[in-house]
Symmetry: C2
Subunit: 153 residues, 2 copies
DNA sequence: ATAAAACCTCAACTTAAGTTGAGGTCAACA
DNA sequence: TGTTGACCTCAACTTAAGTTGAGGTTTTAT
């Protein structure tokens, strides 16, 4: 560990190993995120990565977004509009989380609809129901046409 | 198209192309499912696949399970306990769908919890909240220990 | 009978999100 | 001043769920 902050006693800059330990993300994953442009690092004179403390919030945001099912490429897009040289503010986070919340809502709604269909099937033995997912397997796309015939008439 | 059923006028057996067309699943995917043991086929004298009509329900079941987020390997496990030489009955389907419904419920619950946390963040600006996902990013694992420290004290 | 469409196998390629390892350098500690 | 542990790059491997293509056979339609 290098120099400490005289105020908090915490290291002023973090090595990749320290970030890994504190964030619960593997070193190799941090390297990988860097190649994908999700995070960014300075190098010391020996070419080792040094991160500002704000990296911790950034990777925390990445992890939250991943938990909602957002692919890394979209996370990268969302983060890329923010300047990478200043820490994420709470306003940044609010904007991001509002967007992601909407997407999360959609996913939940889709799964809930499917669950309700499954419930219908369970109750009735399924084979006679019009709204059964086995009869209407492509219902997300229902607006786009009649879809293929999956079961016998 | 080969011989028809004298009753319905529908083909007695289906070629892979017919199954593909009716199920909306690509031929290559049906081949792939066969290699994974999810479906099974007979061959005609020219080595072409021939399926009983019940294949359509089987692939419909596979698709429904996939939509719930169940990986193919688990779908294969679930289907493998059923004899592959008879059509899926509605009782079979009920058992499968009850199991999958439970898993779907769990997924929905997890996402809903995350959404609620996100809501909290949005309302308050996040940084001061104890239950913020940025502060407690590993909350699914909360029972297993304190977890890594992601943000500053 | 012949040509087109459908089918066959097998291998290689794709994307996402990483992980693993080889071969080499740097830093922290005794 | 070692030496050990942390770090570096780069390439290759992993899993899931398929897709694509080459090269060859079968079916179907004319």
């Amino acid at each position: 560990m290098t120099e400490k902050c005289p105020r908090t006693g915490m290291p002023r800059e973090l090595s990749v190993g320290e970030v890994a330990e504190r964030s619960g993300i593997a070193v190799s994953t941090l390297h990988f995120y860097e190649t994908k442009g999700l995070i960014h690092s300075q190098r010391n004179r020996g070419n080792q990565r040094r991160y500002p403390r704000s990296i911790l919030r950034r990777v925390a945001v990445i992890k939250v977004a991943q938990r909602t099912g957002i692919p890394l490429s979209e996370i990268a897009d969302a983060l890329s509009v923010l300047p990478h040289d200043r820490p994420l503010t709470s306003l940044d986070w609010r904007k991001l989380s509002e967007t992601w919340r909407r997407q999360l809502d959609e996913r939940i709604a889709r799964l809930t609809k499917l669950r309700n269909q499954l419930d219908g099937c369970i109750g009735c033995g399924c084979l006679s129901m019009q709204e059964c997912p086995l009869r209407n397997p492509l219902d997300e796309l229902a607006a786009e046409g009649p879809g293929p015939r999956l079961l016998e008439p």
